[in-house]
């Protein structure tokens, strides 16, 4: 008798264990039970925040996820182009917005989400970066970010410095910091892409002087060497040559993250995606890090250059478009956006209209950056306004940053470089 009880209960446990999901399916709350969505994203996107929301979606909506990792960089670009060409796209792709998306010809491959309810929540700047012929194909993966100056507030307090509104003020701050024996500017020249941020992040100031620069540049009529504001961007490098850390030629992005989060240097021109990572590595840095825009000439018009986030794109030919749409809809529920940001952090203000960042976000983002957004003093980076970007940009900015070439030479080199890109992209520049 006892034996049979044990046997029955064992059998019951085993049955339960083998089909745990179906047991709770009867209440009908899980409409996408049994659906598996294929996703494609890089490691920096498949982080704890994303995982938390995906787990919650599995719990509430039932769909499972299978994630393939994008190796990133040009290798990732080549993979996604090949998969587009061979009709082998995953259900949901996480990829850049702006010129890189345009290069994929989205209307051929991705689902038009213009008329979806969630699309009404996205702000116009973001929409312009995921649209082709006025149709929308992408939904923002995360928050915006900026190419700006991350700075160490205690140094500013110690020397009684003000957040600079103009480039001249910035340079004199650096001089004061140098005189006080500090490292005024961190340069992570070992990861050459980081040296571009001063130049690319200066786009607000370029457009402030010449609002049509981006269009004229795409048409091939405006040049960096001849446009006053654009040339000024390049000249800025020369002013900073004496202010760098001793290992500026070799330091990596991770070294910069460590140095800035511990106050070993005062300024760093970098993308603000670094802020959550700094805080994750050194939680006590949260109150000590601030962000300000790359300063221009006009103290009244200091504004921030913004990078739109990567976006989610749904495969047009997927068998699971409904589940994919449901997942994205779920992604933009306020509580789920909160969950993502509270888990991972935020790189900048959100591009969801009417959404405010939760209090868990660092003041550098929630206050410093948000202020520019509230005043409307933001402009997209040039790569969201034109398909042309010079292929050796980061080599030229490294040369300029290390003082090997002056601003005028760098601007001329970059013009030549862009011409090469434009010719190779078939834009017919002469």
């Amino acid at each position: 008798m006892k034996k049979s009880v044990v046997a029955v209960s064992l059998a019951a446990v085993m049955a339960l264990g083998s089909v745990p999901a179906t047991v709770f399916a009867e209440d009908g709350a899980k409409p996408y039970e049994g659906v598996t969505l294929n996703m494609w994203m890089s490691v920096s996107e498949y982080q704890d925040g994303t995982k938390a929301v995906m787990e919650k979606a599995t719990e509430e909506l039932g769909m499972e996820f299978q994630v393939e990792i994008n190796p990133g960089g040009t290798e990732g670009d080549n993979i996604i182009k090949t998969r587009c060409a061979s009709g082998d796209l995953p259900d949901i792709t996480n990829y850049n917005s702006g010129s890189l998306l345009t290069a994929l010809n989205p209307k051929e491959h991705f689902l038009d989400i213009t008329d979806e309810e969630m699309t009404q929540k996205f702000d116009d700047t973001f929409l312009s970066c995921v649209s082709q012929d006025d149709r929308v194909y992408g939904a923002p993966f995360t928050t915006t970010q900026a190419g700006a100056v991350v700075y160490w507030k205690p140094d500013y307090e110690e020397l009684g410095l003000e957040v600079p509104k103009t480039w001249d003020e910035f340079v004199s701050n650096c001089q004061a910091l140098k005189d006080a024996g500090k490292t005024p500017v961190y340069l992570s020249g070992g990861d050459t892409w980081t040296t571009q941020v001063l130049f690319l992040g200066d786009n607000y100031n370029v457009l402030a002087k010449n609002p049509s620069f981006a269009d004229d540049f795409t048409a091939g009529t405006a040049k960096f060497a001849t446009d006053e504001g654009a040339l000024a961007s390049w000249d800025k490098y020369a002013d900073l040559v004496d202010f760098y850390n001793a290992d500026s030629t070799a330091a990596k992005y991770e070294d910069g993250l460590e140095a800035m989060a511990t106050g070993q240097a005062t300024h760093w021109f970098i993308l603000t995606q670094v802020v959550p990572l700094m805080i994750a590595a050194h939680p006590e840095a949260e109150e000590n890090i601030g962000v300000f825009a790359v300063p221009g000439d006009d103290a009244e018009n200091a504004g921030l250059t913004v990078w739109e986030p990567n976006a989610w794109y749904i495969n047009k030919d997927s068998a699971n478009t409904e589940a994919a749409l449901a997942f994205l809809d779920f992604w933009y529920q306020e509580e789920n956006m909160d969950l993502y940001i509270n888990t991972y952090g935020a790189n900048g203000p959100s591009c969801i209209k009417g959404y405010t960042l939760p209090d868990s976000v660092a003041p550098a983002i929630r206050e410093d950056m948000q202020a520019y957004f509230d005043e409307g003093k933001t402009a997209p980076a040039l790569e969201f306004l034109t398909p042309v970007k010079g292929s050796t940009c980061e080599q030229i900015t490294t040369s300029a940053a290390l003082g090997q070439i002056d601003g005028a030479t760098a601007a001329q080199m970059y013009d030549d470089d862009c011409k090469k890109s434009a010719v190779q992209q078939g834009l017919g520049w002469e």
Binding site: T192, S248, T249, A250
Partner: protein
């Protein structure tokens, strides 16, 4: 009679066909097609003919043309240094020393390590503040040297690493050459009262010429094609200071400029051919003259 000889000619021809077919399919055909694609703007789907524009761009744009100069400096300097230094090491290692076997292994050791590993190791050793070289320099009272960060120095730092790593092969070839020299020459010379230096100059050096020629050709072509060490140590930087042709071609390719990067490959092929064939010819002549 006549038809028979024709038949036998044709008969031998069939022996050549397999290798000729392989040569044509895998070497000749790609060379000819790459000549065509080097004159186009090409994105794999479509190729628009643009004449010699890609070539003009390669020679006129500073970042591309400077890579040609760097390649030549790199190739000639590494080759020259290897030829000279390896000769003296080989002489030393063929003399009557006790730990010959051990030292020969030591000299050969760098060649067993992958180039990437060598590059990354030296990159760490040459770090401007934390690298071992600079720590030692500072400890003995010198100011630190930015080996890979200084544009005037970076290329030479990589060249030095290449020589360190590539020396061993040259030494091995030299040793084989030196050992194959007949001992009777030395005996005759010493009976005639020739000094060690005279023996080295008048016997060893001329008779080692065949091995020396192989070393010159091998290391020069290796230098012209170099990529991995540059990529591991500097990635072509700082700025453009160490960009060689192979690294530039790789970058253009990665950026999707397939036509331009093919043009770079054609230029590299022509450059290597223009240097290697006349040099080979000259060295063969010299070798014959000695014999």
């Amino acid at each position: 009679m006549k038809s028979k000889s024709k038949k036998s000619n044709l008969y031998s021809f069939w022996f050549v066909v397999p290798s000729l077919a392989i040569f044509c399919i895998f070497f000749l055909y790609p060379i000819v097609t790459s000549l065509y694609y080097s004159m186009t703007v090409w994105n794999f789907d479509s190729a628009t003919f643009c004449g010699l524009d890609n070539y003009k761009m390669f020679f006129s744009e500073n970042s591309l043309s400077s890579s040609i100069v760097h390649t030549l400096i790199y190739a000639f300097l590494t080759s020259g240094l290897k030829v000279v230094i390896a000769f003296f090491i080989a002489i030393f290692l063929t003399s009557k020393i006790r730990t010959k076997g051990f030292i020969r292994s030591c000299v050969f050791f760098p060649n067993l390590v992958s180039t990437m590993a060598v590059g990354l190791t030296f990159c760490a050793l040459m770090h401007p503040t934390k690298g071992l070289f600079n720590v030692v320099l500072q400890a003995i009272g010198f100011s630190p040297i930015n080996f890979l960060g200084d544009i005037n120095l970076a290329l030479y730092s990589v060249i030095a690493t290449d020589v360190w790593k590539g020396l061993s092969i040259s030494v091995v070839i030299y040793i084989a050459g030196v050992q194959s020299i007949d001992k009777t020459y030395y005996e005759a010379a010493s009976i005639d009262g020739a000094s060690a230096w005279q023996q080295l100059k008048s016997i060893t050096l001329p008779l080692v010429a065949p091995s020396q020629n192989s070393i010159i050709i091998l290391s020069l072509i290796g230098g012209l094609r170099t990529f991995d060490l540059i990529w591991a140590m500097t990635g072509g930087g700082p700025g453009f200071a160490t960009d060689v042709m192979a690294s530039v071609i790789y970058k253009e390719y990665a950026y999707g400029f397939y036509g331009l990067s093919t043009a770079g490959n054609v230029i590299m092929l022509v450059l290597i051919s223009c240097i290697a064939f006349p040099l080979q010819h000259f060295l063969m002549k010299r070798e014959e003259a000695i014999q």
